[in-house]
C-alpha cells in the first residue's frame, strides 16, 4: 500500500463508461481521493493550529497585555486596563529605552556592514581550497558551536579590567565591560566573532553549489577573479544572499545573549530584547510594561519583515 499513486486515477476520475451513459446528474470531476483530501486537510490544519497557538495567540496576548498593568499576581479578571500609559511611560520616563533602540540599530549596521561581508569574504577564500582550509573552516565556525556560557567566559577572560588578557598584554586599564562608551563595541566584536563564522558556513555551502563551468567560462572569457565573482558567481548566489541578509537582520534584532551574559543589558548595553526580559521574566513581573516593550519590538521586526516580503514578492513577479 505504500506505493499509492498521488492521484488515484482509477477511482478519482470517473470511468469512461459512466460518462457515456449520460442521463443522471453531472458528477463533479474529482482529482483527489478522500484519503488525499484528509491528508491535505490535516497537513494544513495541524501547522495552522500550531502557528496560531504558539505564535499568533501569544503575540496577540502580548499586545493585549501591553494595555494593562498586570503584575502576574491575581486572576485574569482582575487585570486592569490602563490604555496607552505603558507606551507613554516607555517613551517618556524610562531612561534605558532610547539607548536600547539606538543600540539595536547600531547592532544591525555593524553586522550588516562589517561582520556579514567579512564572513562572505572568508567563505570565498575558503572556497579556493587553500591548504588547511578544513582547519580554518573549523576554527572560524567554532564560536557558533560553543555554548553561550563558554563564550561569555572566554570574553570575560579577555575583557576583564583588572585580570583580563587585553589589558595585561597592552598595559592599558580600559574598562571594557564597565565603560558605557566602550562596552557596546567590545560586545559587538564578540558578537561579530560569532556571526562571521555563521555567515561563512552558510555562504560556503552556497558557493560549493555553484556550477564550476560558470567560473571556467568566465575565466576563458578573460574575466579577472574579482570580476568573475561579482558578475557571475554573486548573481547566481541570489537565494543564498537573501538568506544571509535575512539571517543578519534576525540576528541583530534578537541580539540578546551576549549582553545578558555581560551585565544583563544595563549600563551601555541596553537592547530591546534585554529590556523585555528584565521586565517580564523573573521576579520583577512588570508584565504590562514589558509587553509594551515587546510590542514595540514586534512592530520594529514587522517593518523589516514587510520590506523583505515586499522585495521578494516584487522580484518574483518580474
Amino acid at each position: 500500500m505504500s506505493d499509492l499513486p498521488l492521484i488515484q486515477a482509477d477511482r478519482a476520475v470517473p470511468p469512461p463508461a459512466t460518462t457515456t451513459s449520460t442521463g443522471g446528474r453531472r458528477r463533479r470531476l474529482r482529482l483527489l481521493s478522500r484519503t488525499d483530501r484528509v491528508v491535505i486537510t490535516l497537513m494544513v490544519l495541524v501547522p495552522l493550529l500550531l502557528v496560531t497557538g504558539f505564535v499568533w495567540l501569544p503575540a496577540a496576548a502580548t499586545v493585549l497585555l501591553s494595555g494593562t498593568n498586570w503584575d502576574g499576581i491575581g486572576p485574569f479578571n482582575e487585570i486592569e486596563f490602563v490604555g496607552v500609559r505603558n507606551y507613554s511611560d516607555v517613551v517618556n520616563i524610562y531612561p534605558p529605552f532610547v539607548p536600547a533602540i539606538q543600540h539595536n540599530l547600531l547592532w544591525l549596521a555593524a553586522l550588516f556592514v562589517v561582520a556579514t561581508p567579512f564572513g562572505m569574504f572568508l567563505a570565498v577564500l575558503l572556497d579556493k581550497e587553500l591548504r588547511g582550509s578544513r582547519f580554518y573552516q573549523t576554527a572560524l565556525y567554532l564560536p557558533v558551536v560553543l555554548s553561550l556560557a563558554l563564550i561569555g567566559f572566554v570574553w570575560q577572560l579577555l575583557y576583564s579590567r583588572d585580570q583580563g588578557l587585553i589589558n595585561a598584554v597592552f598595559g592599558s586599564s580600559i574598562d571594557w565591560y564597565g565603560d558605557s562608551n566602550v562596552n557596546i563595541w567590545a560586545v559587538m566584536v564578540a558578537s561579530g566573532w560569532r556571526h562571521v563564522g555563521y555567515i561563512m558556513l552558510l555562504y560556503l555551502a552556497g558557493l560549493k553549489g555553484v556550477d564550476p563551468s560558470l567560473r571556467e567560462a568566465a575565466a576563458v572569457d578573460g574575466a579577472s577573479e574579482s570580476r568573475a565573482f561579482f558578475r557571475v558567481v554573486f548573481p547566481v548566489m541570489r537565494p543564498i544572499n537573501i538568506i544571509v541578509l535575512v539571517v543578519t537582520v534576525i540576528e541583530s534584532l534578537r541580539a540578546f545573549d551576549l549582553v545578558w551574559v555581560v551585565n544583563k543589558g544595563r549600563n551601555g548595553l541596553e537592547l530591546i530584547s534585554a529590556l523585555v526580559t528584565q521586565n517580564v521574566v523573573g521576579e520583577a513581573s512588570r508584565i504590562g510594561f514589558g509587553s509594551a516593550l515587546a510590542t514595540i519590538m514586534l512592530v520594529v521586526s514587522l517593518v523589516f519583515i514587510t520590506i523583505y516580503l515586499a522585495t521578494v514578492m516584487r522580484e518574483n513577479r518580474e
Binding site: N69, D71, G72, I73, G74, R85, D89, N92, I93, Y94, P95, P96, S147, L148, A149, G152, F153, Q156, Y159, S160, R161, D162, Q163, S173, D175, W176, Y177, G178, D179, S180, N183, F256, D257, W260, V261, N263, K264, R266, N267, T277, Q278, N279, V281, G282, E283, A284, S285, R286, F289
Partner: protein, 442 residues
C-alpha cells in the same frame, strides 16, 4: 540576583557563576554551578509536588536550597524534625534563582505547605495578598529571638508571617595585617572615615574597593548611607514608595555618596564583587563594604586576618546602630494541606534544635536564634553575631525591602547612572520619582 541575576533570565542561569558573578544569595544558599544548570529543568518541579500531602503523617516543604551544602543541612534539619515529631517532611528542592523568579506562580498555584523565603517587603506583600498564612501562634511558642528579628518577621497587619533561620550582616571589611602595618584605627565618625581614606590613598592603597557590574552591590552603599543619614524608618518608607525620591533627604544621600566616590575603586561598573574582594585580599584595597560572604574570596588561612567594622556614624542624632542584614527563613502557604504539621515544622525550624543543626553543619551563616549553641562560631562569625545582636533595627537590603520590579528595573540602572555621572543628582532623582509613581500605583 540579585536575583538581579539569571534570567530568559533562563539564559543567565545557563552561565556559570564564574562568568555571571555569583550573587550573594546563591552563595549563602549556595545555588551555584550544577544547580544553576539544572535550573530550567526544575521549573516544572515548582508547585507540582503537592500530591504527597494529605496524610496526617507528613508535610511538604518547598526549598530554594539547591546547592549541595545547604541542601544537605536542610535534610539534617528535617530529619531532626522527623525524629522529634514523627512527621515525614517531603522536601521539594528548586534551583535558587528559579524559585525566586517563579515565586508568584508558585504561590498562586499549589505551593508546598511550608516554603523558604526571606524577610522584607516581599514577605509583607505576600502576607497582605493572602498568599501566606498568619503564624503568630507559632511565634508565641518561639524563644531566643531579639525584637529586631520579630519586627522583621511581622506583616503590615502586625501579625507574624515568617520564621527567621539564618542571616548575614553587611559591614566594612578589612585585613588586620594591612591595618596593623599602617597603624590604622577603626573610624567611628564620617570625618575619621574620610581622613582614614585619604591616608590610605597616600599610602598607595585604594581606600574603598567597589564593584557594581551586577547592579546590586551599589545598593548596599546606598542603603547604609541612607540608614546613617535618614534612619531606618525613612529607609522603610522610601522603599515602600511613601517618601519622594526628589526629597532633600534622598539628595543628601547621593550628595554624601558623590563626595565619597573618589575614594572608591574607579571603573566599578565593569567589575564583579569577586574581583573587588580580591583586591582587598591582595592588599591593594584598604576596605570593602560588603556582606559577610566576602570571606569566600579568602583562603582558609587568611580567614583570621579578615575583620570588619560597622559603617561609621554620620548624624549623631541617628547613630550607627542600624544595618543591612538579610534574613533567610520560612513561611507557610495560604492553604496548607497539613496545617497542623506545617505549624509544628515552623516551630521546629524556629527552635534551638534546628538552629544547632544549622550551626554545626554550615559555617557560612549566622543563625537567628540566640538560644543556639554558638560555641562553634569563628571569631568573625561571633563578632558579626554581636554586631547584629546590638543593632536597633535590621534592614533587609534594598531589593528585599522594596518591590522587585522597582529594584531591578529602576534602581539598578539609576545607581549605575549615578556612578557614571555623580553630578546630575537632580535629574536622576526626578527620573527615579517619575518611574516610582508609575510602578507604585496602589
Amino acid at each position: 540576583m540579585s536575583r538581579p541575576q539569571s534570567q530568559a533570565e533562563y539564559l543567565a542561569r545557563l552561565v556559570p557563576p564564574s562568568v555571571a558573578g555569583i550573587n550573594r544569595r546563591s552563595l549563602l544558599a549556595g545555588a551555584a554551578g550544577t544547580g544553576a544548570l539544572l535550573g530550567t529543568g526544575l521549573l516544572a518541579g515548582c508547585g507540582d509536588d503537592s500530591g504527597s500531602g494529605g496524610s496526617s503523617k507528613d508535610v511538604s516543604l518547598g526549598s530554594n536550597q539547591s546547592d549541595p551544602k545547604p541542601k544537605d543541612v536542610l535534610v539534617k534539619v528535617t530529619d531532626g524534625f522527623k525524629t522529634s515529631s514523627g512527621v515525614q517532611v517531603a522536601v521539594n528542592t528548586v534551583d535558587h534563582n528559579t524559585f525566586q523568579e517563579n515565586i508568584n506562580n508558585y504561590l498562586q498555584g499549589k505551593p508546598d505547605d511550608v516554603f523558604t523565603w526571606f524577610a522584607g517587603y516581599r514577605m509583607r506583600f505576600f502576607a497582605q495578598k493572602g498568599l501566606a498564612s498568619d503564624i503568630s501562634d507559632v511565634w508565641s511558642k518561639l524563644s531566643g529571638y531579639s525584637d529586631a528579628f520579630k519586627k522583621a518577621s511581622t506583616g503590615d497587619d502586625g501579625k507574624q508571617y515568617f520564621v527567621p533561620a539564618t542571616y548575614y550582616p553587611w559591614a566594612v571589611f578589612y585585613r588586620k595585617s594591612v591595618w596593623q602595618q599602617h597603624g590604622y584605627q577603626v573610624p567611628t565618625t564620617m570625618d575619621q572615615f574620610t581622613a582614614l581614606s585619604a591616608q590610605m590613598k597616600k599610602d598607595g592603597l585604594i581606600p574603598i574597593a567597589f564593584a557594581d557590574k551586577d547592579g546590586w552591590p551599589a545598593m548596599g552603599t546606598f542603603d547604609i548611607l541612607n540608614l546613617r543619614i535618614n534612619g531606618y524608618q525613612f529607609h522603610i518608607d522610601l522603599m515602600a514608595g511613601k517618601e519622594a525620591w526628589t526629597s532633600d533627604k534622598v539628595k543628601k544621600v547621593f550628595d554624601t555618596w558623590a563626595g565619597l566616590l573618589p575614594l572608591h575603586q574607579p571603573d566599578s561598573l565593569g567589575r564583579t564583587w569577586q574581583e573587588a574582594a580580591q583586591s582587598l585580599q591582595q592588599k591593594k584595597s584598604g576596605m570593602y563594604l560588603l556582606g559577610l560572604f566576602v570571606g569566600q574570596q579568602f583562603s582558609n588561612d587568611e580567614q583570621d586576618d579578615l575583620d570588619f567594622f560597622t559603617f561609621p556614624e554620620i548624624d549623631p542624632a541617628i547613630g550607627a546602630k542600624a544595618l543591612d542584614a538579610p534574613i533567610d527563613g520560612y513561611m507557610m502557604a495560604r492553604k496548607p494541606k497539613n496545617e497542623d504539621n506545617a505549624r509544628k515544622l515552623l516551630e521546629y525550624f524556629g527552635g534551638k534544635a534546628a538552629a544547632d543543626i544549622n550551626l554545626k553543619n554550615d559555617p557560612a551563616v549566622l543563625v537567628a536564634n540566640s538560644g543556639a549553641d554558638v560555641g562553634g562560631y569563628t571569631a568573625l562569625q561571633k563578632k558579626a553575631a554581636e554586631l547584629v545582636g546590638s543593632a536597633t533595627e535590621i534592614a533587609q537590603f534594598l531589593d528585599r525591602d522594596t518591590r522587585p520590579d522597582f529594584a531591578s528595573t529602576v534602581i539598578i540602572p539609576a545607581l549605575q547612572q549615578f556612578i557614571k555621572n555623580p553630578k546630575d543628582i537632580g535629574g536622576l532623582t526626578s527620573s527615579i520619582e517619575n518611574q516610582k509613581k508609575s510602578i507604585f500605583t496602589d
